[in-house]
Amino acid sequence: MSASIKSPLKSPLKSYEFRRERESSWHELEDMVARAEKRGLKSLPAEELLRLPTLYRATLSSLSVARSISLDQNVLNYLESLCARAYFQVYGARASLWEGIVTFLTHGFPAAVRATLRPNLLAALWMVLGGVIGFLLVQANGDWYYTFVGGDMAGGRSPAASTEYLRDGLYDGTDTAAEMLYVFATYLFSHNAGIGIFAFALGFALGIPTVLLLFYNGLTLGAFLALYDSRGLTWDLVGWLSVHGTTEIFAIVLCGGGGLVLAGAIIFPDRETRLESLARRGRTAGTLIMGAVLMLFVAGLLEGFARQLVTEISARYLIGGLMLAFWLSYFTLGGREQPGDPGRRHDDD
C-alpha cells in the first residue's frame, strides 16, 4: 500500500479539485431550488425546469462521490442538504390542488370505500345493532328514551309530547325560521363532521371508542324510531330522516369504518409489521374520511334546506332514495380504472 502512495505530502487534494470542478453547477441548482421553495416550481422558466432533474442527478452523484473521497465536512453537509432540498422539489407532489381534488373525487374516494368494504359493513352492523336494541328497549319501556336521547338533542320530542306536536315537528320545519337555515345547515355540518373525524381518530385506540360511538348513535336512532312508532308516525319519521339521513348515516358509517381500519391494522397486522400495516391502511382510511366529511357537507345542506323546505312525504322519500342510489352507484362504479398517477406508487410494489 505504501508503494501506491508515492508521497502523501505532495499528493494534490483530490477533494479540492473535485469541488472546484463542480461548484458552479451546485450553485446553479441551489439558486433554482431556493426560488422554487419560495414561489413554487411553476415560477421557474421552462428551460430551467428542464434542467432541474439533470442538475439534481449530477449533484446527487457529486454527493455520492464526495462521501467516498472527501473529508471536507462543510462540503458533505452542504451537498447533503442541497440534495435533500432538490429531492423534495423533484419528487414533490406534482399534481396541482385542483387536479388533486378531481382525482380524489373520480378515483381516490370510491376506491377507498371499496377497499374498506368489510370494516364499513362492520361499522354499519354496530350501528344497526344499536338501533335494534334502542328500538326494542324503548318500545318495552318508554323511560329508556331519556337515557338514550340527550335533552338538547330531543328538543321537546319526548314521550311526554303529544302526537300532534311530534307530527308538526316533522312537517312544519318550525324548529328554525327560514332565515336561520344557513346557520342550521352549517352548524349541522361542522357538528357532524367533527363527530365523524372523531370516530375515525378514535379508531387508533383499538377501535373500542369508535364502536361505542356507532353503537350509541344507533341507540339514539332506535329510540327516536320507537317513540314515533308508538304514535303511528313511523313512515313520516323515516321520510323526514331519509332526506339527509341516507347521506349522513352513510357518511358516519364510513367514518366508523375508517376508525375500524386503523384498529384492524393494529390488531391484525397480517404479514407486515404493525408500523407498516398502519402506515399503508391508515392512508386509505384518511382518504375515506375526507370523502365522508364531504358527504356530511352535502348532508348538512340537505338537512338544513331540503328537509325544512320540502314537506311533501313522497318528495322526501324521493330525495332520500335518489341520494342513496347516487352514493351506492358512485361507490360501486366510480374510479374503476386506474388513474394516470404521475407519482411513484411505492406501496403497491
Partner: protein
C-alpha cells in the same frame, strides 16, 4: 460508506446522538440521502406557531365578517359563515399547507422542519389527510379538555381522560422515530431540513500561500509533515480541526494558538515553533486531509485517533 454502527462505540457523545436521530432514504437514483429527525421540541414549537396563526386567522375572519356583513343586518348568514369558516380553517389549515408547501406549514417552515414519506416516495395527499385528521384526538381534544371545565363528571372520569390524552400527546417520546399517532397512520417522518451554506474550502488557504505550488490545495511545502505524524489523527479530529479553522470571533485566534500547540506537542513537531498558528493549522489540515483521503481511496477509513493504525498493528476497520 460510513460505518456508523461500528464507530458508534468510539465516537464522541454528540456523534452518538446524531447517529441515533439519523435516518436514511434511498432515492430512486440509488443514492441514499441522510436526514436528521426533527427534535420533539422543534415540532412542538412549530405546532404552537401554527395554532397561533390559525386562531389569529379565524379571529380576523370572524371580526371582518361581523363588521363587514353585520352592518347589512343579515345576522343569520354571518353566524352560518362564522361557524363554517372556523370549522374549515380548523380542520384544513394543516392539510392545505402540507399539500401546497410539500410537507411544510408556516410553523414548520419557520423551524426548518418538514414531513416526508418514510419510504422515500412523494408525500401523497392521502398521507397528509390521515396524519392531520388524527390531530383531532391528539391536539384539539386535549385543548378542549384543558380549556373547558369538566361539567359534573367525577374525578375518575377526569383521571381516565387525562391518562388517555397523555398517551396520545406523549407518543413521540415512546418511539425512537419520534412518531406521533398521525405519523404512524400516515407512514411519515418529520425531519429537519436545514439549509447549509457552501463555505470556502479551508485547505484552499494553505494552498494559496505558496504561489509556486499552484492552486491545487496541496500541503504547504515550507511546513512538511512526515507520514508518521499524519497517522496520529483520524477523521473525527480532522473535522474538529476544520471547525476550529472556520471559527470566527474574538477568541478564535487564542483557540487556534492552543490547538496548534497541542498538535505540535502530540506529533512531536520538530520544525519552526514560532510559525503562525493559523498557517500551521491550515497546513496540517491540508496535509492530514490529503493523507486520510488518499487512505480512504484504498478503502481504509480511519474514524478517529482511537481506531487502530492499520499499517502498524493491522486491526484497522478498512476493507484492505
Amino acid at each position: 460508506m460510513t460505518t456508523t454502527d461500528a464507530t458508534a462505540t468510539t465516537a464522541a457523545p454528540e456523534d452518538k446522538a446524531r447517529n441515533r436521530s439519523e435516518r436514511r432514504l434511498l432515492t430512486p437514483e440509488g443514492v441514499p440521502l441522510i436526514f436528521q429527525l426533527a427534535e420533539r421540541g422543534e415540532r412542538a414549537a412549530a405546532v404552537l406557531i401554527d395554532l397561533v396563526i390559525m386562531y389569529l386567522g379565524i379571529a380576523t375572519l370572524v371580526l371582518a365578517l361581523v363588521f363587514g356583513l353585520g352592518w347589512v343586518g343579515i345576522s343569520g348568514v354571518v353566524v352560518g359563515l362564522v361557524i363554517l369558516i372556523s370549522f374549515l380553517i380548523r380542520s384544513f389549515y394543516f392539510i392545505y399547507f402540507e399539500l401546497r408547501w410539500q410537507g411544510q406549514t408556516p410553523g414548520k417552515r419557520l423551524l426548518g422542519i418538514r414531513v416526508i414519506d418514510r419510504k422515500g416516495g412523494y408525500l401523497r395527499p392521502d398521507a397528509v389527510f390521515a396524519r392531520n385528521l388524527l390531530r383531532e384526538v391528539e391536539l384539539f381534544l386535549p385543548m378542549t379538555l384543558l380549556f373547558s371545565p369538566s361539567e359534573g363528571s367525577g374525578g375518575w372520569v377526569n383521571l381516565l381522560t387525562l391518562v388517555w390524552v397523555g398517551l396520545f400527546l406523549l407518543l413521540p417520546f415512546f418511539n425512537k422515530d419520534r412518531l406521533r399517532a398521525g405519523d404512524l397512520v400516515a407512514g411519515t417522518w418529520v425531519i429537519s431540513a436545514p439549509k447549509a451554506l457552501l463555505l470556502p474550502d479551508v485547505a484552499a488557504g494553505a494552498a494559496r500561500a505558496p504561489v509556486r505550488q499552484g492552486n491545487t490545495g496541496a500541503a504547504d511545502p515550507e511546513l512538511p509533515f512526515t507520514r508518521s505524524q499524519l497517522e496520529i489523527y483520524g477523521i473525527y479530529e480532522l473535522q474538529t480541526l476544520e471547525e476550529v479553522l472556520r471559527q470566527q470571533g474574538p477568541q478564535s485566534a487564542e483557540t487556534r494558538g492552543e490547538v496548534a500547540k497541542r498538535i505540535q506537542h502530540k506529533i512531536a513537531w520538530t520544525g519552526d515553533t514560532d510559525v503562525d498558528a493559523e498557517r500551521f493549522l491550515k497546513a496540517f489540515y491540508a496535509a492530514l486531509r490529503a493523507h486520510l483521503e488518499s487512505r480512504m481511496l484504498f478503502g481504509e477509513r480511519r474514524e478517529n485517533k482511537f481506531s487502530g493504525k492499520p499499517p502498524a498493528n493491522g486491526n484497522g476497520k478498512g476493507k484492505s
